[in-house]
Subunit: 271 residues, 2 copies
DNA sequence: ACTACATTCACGTTGCGTCATAGTGC
DNA sequence: GGCACTATGACGCAACGTGAATGTAG
């Protein structure tokens, strides 16, 4: 029989944690003096601590360990836990690897004093949403306004209720970069159902995961932002998955000052 | 100017966290109404949230992010943080990999219903310590008792003070397994300084990192335990680093019942 | 009247370290 | 009687989610 201090030294587990294990029922001392409350551990509890510690090193939570021990190391349950943990770890590995790749990428840009350093790319998702959409070929990018005008014209009388949050996006359906005759689609998320008009289709948009960077400034910068995000996606090990789009947070409709425009440039990605 | 709800939706950061960021000085709303206390964010704070989110995805703590932002993204400091984080992640990768390897190893043993499943191996360290040691060639392992007898004989009159914790270990200096004429060393940690005797040397033992498993039972099981630990070390990707040793927690000196013996079998490892 | 906002207080999570205060054992 | 040990209880960390209570602006 060992008092907690001795047992702590032999097992190399702190007194604090032994008491904690006792409290949570993970490892109860084989005897407790009813008068003093002193915990007494028997030597054959050392292997049990070893078991707990071994499972802890595999990254199991104390809770998991408790369940495993209480089940008496039942093979099916154990196998299940091991597999689950394996899957968790595999996911962690991927994340860590991506972070490492991105860090390396950032350090390179930093060393080269690359101005695209100022685009801060993150990965986000949009849920399924309902939107008024207009898709057309337009002569060039600076005529995007036409789409919005058309949309407003044809739906102005319908009393559209904006979704909350309301995103105004433009999707670039041409895979590659084109100077003119571009295939673009304006989308504005709305609440409720409406009938289509001549050019405006109301439709559900599928959820999407994408890499994006928000920037403030005139639209001439969009090209640079695009390049920065594309490089980020490559570096992070994601894969492109669909046409790029922009989200307009502050656009010509809100302000006349191009320096005040706030745009989020987005590239759908997989994995 | 956006109220917190709108800003939260655009930035995809919860209201709770925006208030939290404000509280910790990470992102202060550009205006706060002095009467109502309403937080008002400007659209050009969206890129800043993007920056925060991007850094968060790299795994930086909010604290780190605060420092980085407050330094105005100063390149030297930034480079420093990035590198530090890289190193952390590299360490994490190694750990994760080892855990994955071990999980695979355990699942295999589990599938094969391997009895060595019951040895729970963990990695530990011993600090530098001071010990009375006797090293000798003995005819066979079951004569280990001779060493302890010698040690007790020669030091009995010196009033040795046991170290706290006191470890009784036996080191097996033969690299490979030998049936007879084995080179073993008994060590008992003590406090204070003593003069050497004919067979007993008092010396500092260097710190050591090792893989170990504690088991309860007769010494015939030690071979099995050895095999189990050796396999574990291989699977985990560690490397052997020095002669194996045992720590005797409950030995013939404490009990006559071989089933009550508690022994910790240890293999020093690197990395 | 209802929604969105404000504030403060608080608890739960996870695995501990640490400290305070008081009783026990030799 | 003093020192080493034990007990219990509580706070702190990190990064939030979640709630409750209560008050105000539009």
């Amino acid at each position: 029989m060992l008092k907690i201090g001795k047992f702590s030294k032999l097992s190399r587990v702190s007194i604090r944690m032994l008491r904690y294990y006792d409290e949570m029922g993970l490892l109860t001392p084989s005897t407790i003096d009813p008068y003093t409350g002193y915990r007494f551990y028997s030597e054959d509890q050392l292997p049990i601590v070893g078991q707990i510690t071994a499972l802890k090193e595999l990254g199991f939570s104390l809770n998991d360990i408790g369940q495993i021990l209480k089940s008496g190391m039942e093979p099916d349950l154990l196998e299940n836990r091991l597999r689950t943990r394996q899957e968790e770890l595999a996911a962690l590995m991927e994340q860590t690897q991506r972070q490492l790749r991105l860090l390396e990428f950032l350090r390179q840009r930093l060393r080269k004093d690359d101005p695209t350093m100022n685009y801060h790319v993150t990965c986000k998702t949009l849920p399924e949403r309902y939107a008024a959409t207009v898709r057309m070929h337009i002569p060039s990018y600076d005529r995007e306004g036409d789409l919005w005008q058309l949309l407003t014209q044809e739906t102005g009388h319908m009393g559209l209720v904006e979704a909350d949050p309301c995103y105004c996006t433009v999707v670039y359906h041409d895979g590659e970069f084109k100077e003119n005759d571009v295939d673009v689609e304006a989308q504005k998320t709305v609440r409720g159902q409406y009938p289509d008009t001549e050019h405006v289709r109301f439709r559900k948009l599928p959820p999407v995961t994408f890499a994006s960077a928000i920037f403030q400034g005139p639209y001439e910068q969009i090209t640079e932002a695009n390049a920065a995000i594309a490089a980020w996606v490559q570096a992070s090990g994601y894969e492109f998955d669909g046409p790029a789009f922009n989200i307009y947070h502050v656009s010509p409709r809100e302000t006349d000052d191009p320096n005040a425009f706030v745009t989020e440039v987005c590239y759908p990605v997989k994995r």
